[in-house]
């Protein structure tokens, strides 16, 4: 008798276990709070990037709180940020995204920054139909075939030709050299796009040296000697700030006198600090120029500097723009229904419709893929070590 009862309990439990969970899982939020997830690398390889993201997000939240909330359709909603650390690891970025979507029930996600995290995390966001915007990822895969994923920066296939054209027009050079990190996603991609664009302009073989190294190398003398002897007129190196300093200094020690040109990864406050006088007078392409900025850009830089003590780098500026895009998209929905699923869809639609958004990193319109059409800025490092606006290059057609 007892055993029969026990068996009955077991059977019942197993049935409950395998039945799809029906109760207590309704996706409704208490209408009244808008939650926005920030997926940032606060620890790990690139903590400075995470810091910039966090600070920009906090500044944005202050603005919203000062205004008494985010106004959507005539009603003010308080905003909450869920800032989570993804340790700069792909798997953690996926965990964080899953957590923010299913547990914290955020409306929109901003981040992750680096492509190695944004690509898998974007897959999660798309799977759960939650809009996500990456402020920094330049890998085409992040947004490819993912209607719910957007990004704020321009892509490498755009940046490569911009630089090739700029060098050709500015210096009238025909032979270039490239030095890049073969083990890192971003420099490798950009180096290849640059090479392709350069060879389109000057014919095959016009990139006279295409040298590579591996992440964390610190001695570039053999590659730089080759480049110096190759007869190149300009060196292009799409590296991060710590490597830029080493490359530029070593190149000058080895007798390289021609210009060195970089990409948006140079745009960190650390570049000039580490590189010093060697970097003065060099050019790179980026999203915005801090020195000599005007209007909203200047206002942002001044506020950030006053609050956190240093000039914001491009990650902070792009995060700021991403949050402003999110804000506009939420406001454009007209009203929030309180049904999270519906609201996420509406925000996504509104974001896809955004046209000519005036951000501090330029004017943006999203393509079908969720990539912005926007201008790049060429910056010159002045003799005072500041990033000076030199010219702006916009996509044609």
């Amino acid at each position: 008798m007892r055993k029969g009862f026990l068996c009955g309990v077991y059977v019942l439990l197993v049935i409950i276990a395998f039945s799809p969970s029906g109760c207590g899982n309704g996706e409704t939020i208490k209408i009244g709070t808008i939650k926005i997830g920030i997926n940032a690398p606060l620890t790990g390889d690139i903590p400075k990037v995470g810091e910039g993201t966090k600070f920009a997000a906090q500044m944005w939240l202050e603005d919203i709180q000062a205004a008494g909330g985010l106004e959507v359709g005539g009603k003010k909603y308080p905003v909450e940020l869920a800032i989570e650390d993804n340790e700069s690891k792909a798997e953690s970025a996926v965990k964080v995204n899953t957590k923010m979507i299913t547990e914290d029930e955020v409306l929109v996600i901003v981040g992750p920054q680096a492509s190695k995290q944004a690509v898998p995390a974007g897959g999660i966001a798309n799977k759960y139909k939650t809009p996500m915007i990456s402020p920094w990822s330049t890998n085409p895969d992040t947004t490819k075939d993912r209607p719910y994923v957007f990004r704020t920066p321009f892509l490498d296939p755009f940046q490569g030709p911009v630089l090739a054209n700029f060098i050709t027009e500015e210096f009238k050079f025909t032979k270039s050299a490239v030095l890049y990190d073969v083990a890192s996603d971003y420099p490798k991609g950009l180096a290849e796009f640059f090479k392709k664009a350069w060879e389109n302009l000057h014919g095959p073989g016009s990139v006279v040296a295409f040298e590579s190294f591996t992440t964390k190398d610190a001695d570039f003398s053999s590659q730089l000697t080759k480049i110096t002897n190759s007869g190149a007129q300009v060196l292009f190196t799409p590296q991060y700030y710590n490597e830029v300093a080493l490359i530029v200094q070593q190149a000058h020690q080895l007798g390289w006198k021609e210009p060195i040109v970089g990409s948006d990864s140079w745009g960190s406050a650390e570049t000039v600090q580490l590189c010093g006088k060697d970097c003065y007078g060099l050019f790179f392409s980026t999203h915005y120029a801090a020195a000599g900025a005007t209007g909203a850009t200047k206002e942002f830089i001044d506020r950030y500097k006053a609050k956190f003590g240093y000039v914001p780098d491009d990650v902070a500026a792009l995060t700021w723009d991403s949050l402003r895009i999110v804000q506009k998209a939420i406001q454009d929905t007209g009203e929030l229904t309180g049904d999270l699923k519906k609201d996420r869809n509406r925000v996504r639609d509104a974001m896809g419709r955004i046209e000519k958004f005036k951000g501090i990193t330029g004017e943006m319109t999203f393509t079908e893929e969720g990539d912005p059409i926007k201008c790049a800025v060429i910056v010159r490092i002045s003799d005072a070590g500041e990033f000076e606006f030199y010219k702006s290059v916009c996509p044609t057609g």
Binding site: I16, K116, A183, D185, K188, T214
Partner: protein
């Protein structure tokens, strides 16, 4: 009072595994039924996701509610049901024990799966954490074969994982997915889930093949030198994949189909634990211990040390490769940067935290480090102070890890803990 505590703890020592599983099942069922109303009544926004720890760190004001919730849903129901059902579960366990051991084990595993399924059914975040924890158990266990049972210090497991991850991913992506890299799918995707085990085994075999590069030098070197060779192997694998354009180099390979669901991962973990447990307890496993303790003596006692080493490395790499394949399919993306020093540190921490030379230890280490990493995430940088600190403390007080040198004996595990006829 003290007497009461003593009697109740001694009573709990008589609870068979079946009883604990039964109690846990009741607890997760309870969470399904009354979890949400209870959480709301206690002032929590929703069901605490990882036993309330995350919410405690984020909003300290909710600590009492979170503790109360855990007490109401987990601690009290498990305690009460296991205590009350001691005689019944023991009798049932005894009944099962009389039947072939396979049936008894199958019932236990089915119960365990039901518990995990229900626990993870509350929230997809739990599901993901659970899947990655199970995969971590596989990797830790496979590393334990080398570092624990054979006593070498292998640093190559992230490399084996990478080989397995890429091997399995290339197989599934080429055959079943339309993508830009390899063109259209060759076989209909409907066949995919059935071929998934083949993909995983293939990943494991690729990893085994790579392991030859470490196994052969191990004939002549030991200790630190072999550790350096294995470390070099890990970097070779990483650089190799970074330079292989057909798997997209450092950009990473994405588009793996979503076949690594909970039953698949659970089943593979169970198979892995079962086979490794049998392996280390058979003659070959004892030969591993002999090689560890004194290679010369082992050789003199007719242990074929070369064969032992090569089998151990290939076997261990196979399971690391399978785990890597599952890992790639859980994330749907894999890049060479994932399998670097950071991953190595994580796996080694799991092995040494849990305990050398022990299947229990590997499970405990993998589960505790994975969960700690998740639970302490809100602390950001302090997480990287607390976890290493814990590791140091474990190393001071238990130099070989929490549960080291303990055999997993399945028969002991499932047998009833008291004679049912005695009590009444």
């Amino acid at each position: 009072m003290r007497a009461w505590i003593r009697t109740s703890t001694s009573a709990f020592s008589q609870v068979p595994l079946l009883g604990w599983l039964f109690g846990a099942l009741i607890a997760v069922a309870l969470e399904h039924l009354v979890g949400t109303p209870l959480a709301l009544a206690l002032g929590l926004p929703k069901i605490p996701v990882l036993f309330g720890f995350v919410i405690m760190l984020k909003k300290p004001i909710l600590i009492p509610s979170a503790i109360l919730y855990v007490l109401c849903i987990y601690v009290v129901p498990i305690g009460v049901t296991t205590r009350l059902s001691i005689s019944r579960t023991n009798r049932l366990a005894a009944e099962l024990f009389r039947s072939p051991i396979v049936i008894s084990v199958a019932v236990h595993l089915a119960l365990l799966y039901a518990i995990l399924h229900m626990w993870a059914g509350i929230n997809d975040y739990r599901l993901l954490v659970l899947k990655l924890t199970l995969i971590a158990i596989m990797v830790t266990l496979s590393l334990n074969v080398i570092n624990g049972y054979m006593g070498e210090f292998s640093c190559s497991h992230p490399g084996f994982m990478a080989l397995g991850a890429y091997g399995a991913s290339v197989f599934t992506v080429v055959l079943f997915v339309d993508d830009r890299l390899f063109g259209a799918a060759i076989l209909p995707p409907a066949l995919g889930p059935f071929m998934f085990p083949i993909a995983l085994i293939l990943g494991g075999l690729v990893a085994s093949l790579g392991a030859l590069a470490v196994a052969i030098p191990s004939f002549r070197t030991r200790g630190d030198y072999l550790a350096i060779i294995s470390l070099a192997f890990m970097f070779i694998v990483k650089s190799l994949i970074e330079n292989l354009e057909f798997v997209r180099g450092p950009r990473g390979l994405s588009g793996q189909p979503d076949w690594a669901n909970l039953p698949t991962v659970f089943l593979w973990t169970v198979i892995c634990v079962w086979i490794i447990n049998n392996f280390v307890r058979c003659t070959m496993g004892k030969a591993l211990n002999a090689v560890r303790d004194n290679e010369m003596a082992a050789e003199a006692m007719t242990v074929n040390t070369r064969r032992t080493k090569i089998v151990a490395f290939l076997f261990s790499a196979f399971w690391a490769g399978v785990a890597g394949g599952l890992f790639a399919h859980v994330l749907g993306y894999v890049n060479p940067g994932t399998f670097g020093i950071q991953k190595l540190a994580e796996v080694l921490a799991m092995v040494y935290f849990g305990g050398l030379n022990s299947v229990y230890g590997a499970v405990v280490g993998a589960v505790s480090i994975s969960l700690l990493g998740e639970v302490l995430r809100p602390l950001e940088i302090f997480k990287w102070i607390i976890i290493p600190l814990l590791l140091i403390l474990v190393m001071i007080f238990r130099p070989t890890g929490l549960i080291a040198f303990k055999e997993l004996n399945v028969t002991n595990l499932v047998k009833p803990k008291q004679n049912p006829d005695e009590e009444m």
